[in-house]
């Protein structure tokens, strides 16, 4: 019997993550304290300017408003923007992880795709028309597609563990990016492209990455839960042999998930190009770990068969909230990596504990059911 008050976590496993986010948000709001921010007003021409006020002596001074250190529009959009890049990739990597695979090259794919797109667009200069931007986006996504496909092809063809292959390509892709750029940063993209990605600005922040993240999450969720291939992704992670015996084209599905992983890195790269306006071969260093951590915190099991797109996004949000929280609460920045590491391990332990409990409940249920079944059937006839 389940009480109506208890959340049904078996139907909505991401509920726990939402609660964690809520609790984190409340804690950060309460303990973050207040901070003074310059007061801005929007003029008739739509321009934002500093608001002025008269102080006690009647002089004009810049006005300030007190805002909560965490719960204010700027911090929240900042988190949303920072999360977007990781969350988009986490959705892709979750697909890979559900098949019991792993993609360590995701940060390098991000860098290589960004660099290629940057090199393409910078040829046309800042005044180029929209076609240059469209071309740049296509190049970036195409490169990431090829990188993902290469990962997949090698994993399937050589039948090697994805850890090995993507560990190799992690170095190779970044190396190619370095060779292409000579280690230089590349900028000078069409202004229209940059404006597009940065529009909807609050202060200096844009909502476009957030919107793209939500779109990727929705598409990922539909792919995994509604489509035939999505079902097959889970099946392969749950039991590859049984999947093959059921006629699933395992190699094809595996290839597909690595392509998806690569393309999500490409989408993130497109956003980064527009947002930061430059790319270099050193971009996205170490992103693979943050992304995988996000996926795992979001409920993906490294043993395969478990995970969801929404979980990946929520996991990435939790990690970003913690990173931001460290700054807000005033813990020295240098501790941030340690805290992140502790959080990842704790999250996975909690998940294990949760699974242990549900396993025990299942055991108790079936033992009970069996007992009833045994008692209702005839007792064995003694043999003379």
């Amino acid at each position: 019997m389940s009480s109506p008050l208890r959340l049904n976590f078996s139907k909505f496993p991401e509920g726990g993550l939402l609660i964690v986010i809520l609790v984190l948000g409340i804690l950060l709001s309460v303990f973050g304290g207040e901070v003074q921010r310059p007061k801005m007003i929007q003029g008739a021409d739509g321009q934002w300017t500093r608001a002025m006020e008269k102080d006690a002596s009647g002089q004009e001074v810049p006005a300030f408003v007190k805002v909560n250190n965490f719960f204010n529009a700027e911090t929240l959009t900042q988190i949303a923007k920072d999360t977007s890049f990781f969350a988009i990739m986490a959705v892709g990597v979750t697909c890979v992880i559900i098949t019991a695979g792993i993609d360590l090259s995701i940060g390098s794919v991000y860098a290589l795709a960004a660099v290629c797109g940057a090199m393409f667009m910078s040829q046309f200069g800042a005044d180029a028309g929209p076609w240059a931007a469209v071309g740049g986006v296509l190049v970036t996504v195409a490169v990431s597609f090829i990188c993902g496909a290469l990962n997949g092809v090698m994993i399937v063809a050589f039948n090697l563990h994805p850890f090995i292959i993507t560990l190799g390509t992690m170095a190779i892709y970044r190396g190619i990016a370095f060779v292409l750029t000579n280690g230089q940063s590349i900028g000078g993209f069409p202004q229209g492209f940059r404006d597009f990605v940065r529009q909807g600005v609050i202060g200096d922040l844009s909502l476009v990455p957030l919107i793209v993240m939500i779109l990727v999450c929705i598409v990922g969720a539909i792919f995994l839960s509604r489509m035939v291939v999505g079902r097959q992704v889970y099946a392969i992670g749950g039991n590859e042999v049984a999947s093959r015996y059921s006629g699933i084209r395992v190699a094809r599905v595996k290839l597909l998930v690595y392509v998806i992983g690569g393309v999500t890195a490409g989408i993130a790269a497109v956003l980064a190009l527009g947002y930061y306006g430059a790319a270099s071969s050193g971009d996205g260093q170490g992103y693979e770990l943050t992304v995988i951590a996000g996926a795992v915190v979001g409920g993906a099991s490294l043993f395969g068969g478990k995970g969801s797109a929404l979980g990946a996004v929520l996991g990435a949000i939790i990690l970003q909230m913690i990173a931001t929280g460290i700054v807000i609460i005033g813990i020295p920045q240098s501790y941030s990596q340690i805290v992140t590491g502790v959080v990842v391990i704790t999250a996975v332990l909690l998940d294990q504990f949760n699974r242990w409990i549900s396993d025990r409940r299942l055991l108790a249920q079936t033992a009970h059911a069996k007992k009833e079944a045994v008692e209702t059937t005839n007792p064995p006839v003694p043999v003379k």
Partner: protein
């Protein structure tokens, strides 16, 4: 006074009560056989004594003292060792190293190689086995490996040794060797528990026999006071009433499967046979005879075979599961947990897995249609589960097997290959599965049934094909069916 006593042992597994209030006494220096059908709980009892499982209820006492072997290591300290049927050693290390893994003779962290070898040598000669102790475990046959396991048991001064289906993959010669060894251990006063379902062996070596059925103790008797028929009756309990299957009254229809000179290196050679509509053809043979390999080849899971397979007269290009499935071939694998089901998925996901294409539109799963279809099937097969969303890992063996079968009934097959369809399934589910297979055959499906249970083969098949060591040794029509005639062909 008995040397080893187990009292009121009860053990639950997810979905099954494996043992139910079992009490047995074992005498010193004797061979005590534990018998029962698959799933009767005999292996579980052996493993509980050996510390691999802990009982949920009940006590174990050795030499009058109550003990609690919570893991294999504590069991070993109590003098209990298990000889497993599967690999327990590190295959990449030598016999000598494996025999002393925990007690490696060393001097300041460096292995004393000579001492290591000599100690192993003395253990091996103690049980009278002559194998070079520097041989890697990977290079041994299963039989030799078992000898090493016994040597290890002697090495820890075990006075209770449990043999878990030791002969299931041994050759005749190796079996003889093993029995000699058991005789010698008996003379030393070792208590041996011999888990098996092979009747002949029991009468050869056991002193006492205990029969279990559905996790319950049925009888413990001296071997001299019982006989084969009596044991069978005890094991089966009520007679499993297999009614005369209805498909036998139909005339076999069109030939669905024809296999011609099919060979696969090291697996089977020159296999030829055919299966028609409305027919269940049994395949008999010992483990390793190549029956499963043939089935897998027909289903497209083997890429190296040569020869021809025809489905409804059309030559099937082998080595591709999807091509075989397109010709409406279905395959129920012998190991439902490893090959048949995705245990972490629910019933409906498992059943629809091979046919997702038919339940979908534009690549999206049509869940309403899927659920409706699965519900029809699970009702027909009488799968007992809380709901279709129940995870298959939590179902009992019989219900899991029904789900695995349902996978191939979701779309009509022309040829259904079932590999050990009732392995590890309780008596009730067994009868239901028999009835179902008969029903399916009557509907015009050709069924090839691989089974290691003779009664099953004899009562359900129209013809029996026997295999031995990769060759088809003969084919028996219904009129010539008898235990002896099949056994002659397969062993």
């Amino acid at each position: 006074m008995p040397f080893l006593t187990v009292e009121h042992i009860t053990k639950f597994f997810p979905g099954v009560r494996a043992l139910d209030d079992v009490s047995v006494q074992f005498e010193k220096g004797s061979v005590h056989a534990l018998m029962g059908e698959n799933g009767a709980g005999k292996s579980t009892l052996g493993k509980i004594i050996g510390g691999i499982y802990t009982p949920d209820q009940g006590t174990i006492s050795i030499d009058g003292r109550e003990v609690r072997p919570t893991d294999p290591l504590t069991a070993q300290k109590l003098g209990v060792a298990i000889v497993h049927q599967e690999l327990v050693f590190c295959p990449n290390l030598s016999i000598a190293e494996n025999l002393q893994l925990g007690t490696m003779p060393a001097n300041r962290g460096f292995v004393e190689r000579r001492q290591l070898r000599e100690r192993a040598q003395s253990l091996m000669s103690e049980i009278g086995v002559d194998i070079d102790v520097n041989t890697l475990i990977a290079e041994l046959t299963t039989g030799q490996e078992q000898m090493v396991q016994i040597a290890a048991a002697v090495g820890i001064n075990a006075n209770i040794i449990i043999f878990d289906e030791p002969t299931s993959s041994l050759s005749v010669n190796e079996t003889k060797h093993l029995f000699d060894l058991i005789g010698r251990l008996k003379a030393r006063g070792t208590t041996m528990i011999y888990v098996s379902h092979r009747m002949e062996e029991i009468f050869q070596i056991a002193d006492t026999v205990t029969v279990l059925r559905d996790g319950r103790h049925v009888a413990t008797e001296a071997i001299a006071e019982t006989n084969r028929e009596r044991l069978i009756r005890q094991m089966v309990g009520r007679d499993v009433l297999i009614q005369r299957p209805k498909h036998l009254d139909l005339k076999p229809g069109e030939e669905v499967l024809r296999v011609e000179n099919l060979s696969s290196m090291g697996q089977f050679e020159n296999v030829s046979f055919s299966v028609c509509r409305n027919e269940i053809v049994g395949m008999a043979g010992l483990v390793g005879a190549g029956r499963t390999a043939v089935a897998k080849a027909v289903f497209g899971l083997d890429k190296r075979e040569t020869g021809n397979v025809y489905i409804k007269g059309k030559r099937l290009i082998l080595g591709n599961v999807n091509r075989s499935m397109r010709e409406r071939v279905g395959y129920l694998p012998e190991d439902r947990k490893k090959e048949g089901l995705v245990l972490m998925m629910n019933i409906s996901d498992n059943v629809s897995l091979p046919h997702l294409g038919t339940f979908s539109r534009f690549g999206f799963v049509d869940e309403r249609r899927e659920l409706a279809e699965v519900e029809k099937l699970t009702k027909r097969l009488r799968v007992k589960a809380p709901s279709l969303e129940s995870v298959t890992a939590g179902l009992s063996g019989g219900n899991q097997q029904k789900v695995a079968i349902a996978k191939w009934l979701a779309r009509t097959c022309d040829l259904l290959i079932v590999d050990e369809p009732t392995r590890g399934v309780d008596v009730g589910a067994k009868a239901e599965i028999y009835q179902l297979l008969d029903e399916v055959a009557c509907q015009g499906v050709a069924i090839l049934m691989i089974s290691s249970e003779l009664p099953e083969l004899l009562s359900l098949s129209r013809r029996i094909i026997a295999m031995r060591e990769g060759f088809v040794t003969g084919e028996l029509p219904y009129e010539q069916f008898s235990q002896e005639s099949v056994l002659n062909l397969m062993a």
